[in-house]
Amino acid sequence: MKILIIEDEPELSSSIIKYLSGENYLCELASSFAEAIEKITLYDYECIILDLMLPGGDGMNILREIRRQGKGDGVIIISAKGSLENKLEGLKSGADDYLHKPFHLAELAARIQSVIRRKQFGSSNSVQEHEIHIDLLARTVKVNDTEVPLTKKEIDLLLYFIGNKNRVISKNAIAEHLSGDMADMFDSYDYIYAHIKNLKKKLTDAGCENYIKTIYGTGYKWEGV
């Protein structure tokens, strides 16, 4: 799957590319406005990561150009402008998601997967991971055809892990994913521990293998092939 990263900060784009390339993504880079316009016109991408402040122009115009050309590429805006108006403007102009800087790479990976999934599967949207089957529309999870009663937050967490297979995810990244901006309000990560413990227990109780590994002092990791 091809992903275009439009970002002028080489250190950031290289980190993104390195993190994503482990999965079956093929990442391309455009570091200026002109280069980005050229690439979106010539090629199709499953997902485009778009920074808004670029040398040579406003990233918002690239988004408008993509939509003007009638392309269905998924677009995730990454911007330092984190205000609600900026976010709404981006989504109104046709972006699929809006992520404000600084973000965790795990968060970006999960969102890319979600955008691609939505683009590819449309309404019959589901995820199969080993013995786990997630119906995204009905929001139900089955392990070997047995339904597991997971809460909305637990399904969210499960998808987040699956979107970052074999990656160490820090507790801070999980906290931000679960509680968004509210993560700043709490000093302790106790609540993450509780959520993950519940998720693990519900899955293993349903006969699922334990894929969630605790990395001491750091975070968690979903181990699976």
Binding site: Y19, A80, P102, L105, A173, M185, F186, D187, G217, G219
Partner: protein
């Protein structure tokens, strides 16, 4: 005080002053004119008396008899024998009781020496000045009438003419009042032919243009500063995320790397909050709507319950609808509750809404420095790990909407109150 009244007021005072001056001036003038007229008349009378009596050629006994009779009938003229001659004629004014008029009157008199036959006589003529009083009243009444006429004129002119003159000024004032930095629109003043107003309008146009520019550049600066700061944080964060994937590190090394995440997270949080404070100060949250405080409290506490072990107890007596920006109202409540959770150490948090007052309380060991609590960059307590911005934002939001934040430490509990 209205501008027009300010201009009329000294005029009225001056007119009153002139009026007050004019009354005694008229009085004195009339008095002296009247007196000198009478003196002239007395002088003429003296001449006539002397001439007529001498022409009659009466002997002394006849003369004395005549003078006696005359003094009885002619009130005011007396002629009595004199031993020595007065050097000069004397003129005087006196007040005396006039038995025929039955009241005290003012008289003008003359005393002189005349010679009848070969003997000197003292002639004194006294005339009632009774008419002068009436004249004074008339003059005073007339003056007052003109004064009132002038007063009415002043006010009429001020109301009609001055109001017309000041019209461009009031127009400018109205436009200035409507001027709003947030709209990013310059002020458009109507042209005027009066030099001072032209100057005023030029200065105002200049001033507002400068303010707009400053406002815009400050706004851009804070936004850019935020961007510039978030980008390096984003790079650091991504590098740490990548380092965590490296399994060649020892356990200790990985742990050390993980410990970088939280301070970095706090850094970007502070950065975001600073931007928020500046934005509130710059009135960048204009959209106001009706916000139900009850709904807001319920929504936020429901959200927060997922993330904390602390018990949250709500007590809402009556809902309160705020006219405010929804985001700011949420932010304020989030910060208050977040603050309570962070420092409450898993104890119960109470959120009360009673009689237009919101109270968020949590357990604590000792009182915080209350006067600095809602100020920017102030550490309320040395143990607080926060950036000191959460409550500053609450303070800013309260200030924006005229709400009153307060703090109290009582019975081992912190009480944060907002009076709406």
């Amino acid at each position: 005080m209205k501008l027009i009244n300010t201009t009329i007021r000294p005029l009225i005072w001056y007119a009153l002053f002139v009026f007050a001056l004019s009354v005694p001036a008229f009085f004195l003038l009339l008095n002296s004119v009247w007196a000198s007229e009478l003196d002239e008349y007395h002088e003429a009378m003296k001449g006539r008396i002397v001439t007529e009596l001498n022409e009659m050629k009466l002997d002394t006994a006849e003369l004395h008899r005549f003078l006696q009779l005359w003094s009885r009938t002619e009130q005011g003229i007396t002629i009595v024998p004199e031993t020595r001659r007065l050097k000069n004629d004397s003129f005087y004014t006196k007040t005396a009781f006039d038995k025929y008029y039955g009241e005290t009157e003012k008289f003008r008199g003359m005393q002189t020496t005349i010679v009848l036959g070969q003997h000197p006589y003292r002639l004194s003529i006294v005339t009632n000045m009774e008419e002068t009083d009436e004249t004074y009243y008339m003059v005073a009444a007339l003056s007052l009438l003109f004064f009132l006429l002038m007063l009415a004129g002043f006010i009429w002119i001020a109301r009609n003419y001055s109001a017309k003159i000041w019209l461009p000024f009031y127009d400018t004032l109205a436009r200035l009042r409507r001027f709003d930095l947030k709209t990013n629109q310059g002020i458009d003043l109507s042209p005027t032919s009066i030099d001072e107003f032209k100057e005023l309008n030029t200065s105002i146009t200049e001033l507002t243009r400068n303010s707009l520019q400053t406002y815009q550049s400050q706004k851009e600066f804070t936004e850019n500063a935020s961007h510039e700061l978030q980008t390096p944080v984003a790079i650091l964060r991504s590098k740490i995320d990548l380092l965590l994937q490296d399994d060649t590190f020892t356990k200790e090394q990985t742990e050390a790397i993980s410990q970088l995440i939280q301070p970095l997270s706090r850094l970007s949080h502070i950065n975001r909050n600073l931007l928020l404070v500046v934005k509130i100060e710059h009135y960048q949250f204009g959209d106001e709507e009706q916000v139900s405080l009850k709904q807001l409290i319920s929504a936020i506490s429901a959200q927060i319950r997922d993330y904390t072990a602390s018990d949250i107890v709500l007590s809402i007596e009556q809902d309160l609808t705020l006219q405010a920006n929804r985001f700011l109202a949420e932010t304020m409540l989030n910060n208050l509750v977040g603050n309570a959770i962070r420092h409450g150490g898993n104890h119960t948090i109470h959120i009360n809404l009673v009689q237009g007052e919101l109270t968020v309380s949590n357990a604590g060991d000792k009182s915080l420095t209350s006067e600095k609590l809602f100020k920017r960059y102030s550490h309320a307590s040395p143990d607080s790990p926060g950036a000191g911005l959460g409550l500053a934002i609450v303070g800013e939001i309260c200030q924006k909407y005229g709400w009153k934040p307060s703090y109290e430490f009582k019975d081992g509990k912190h009480f944060f109150r907002i009076k709406f």
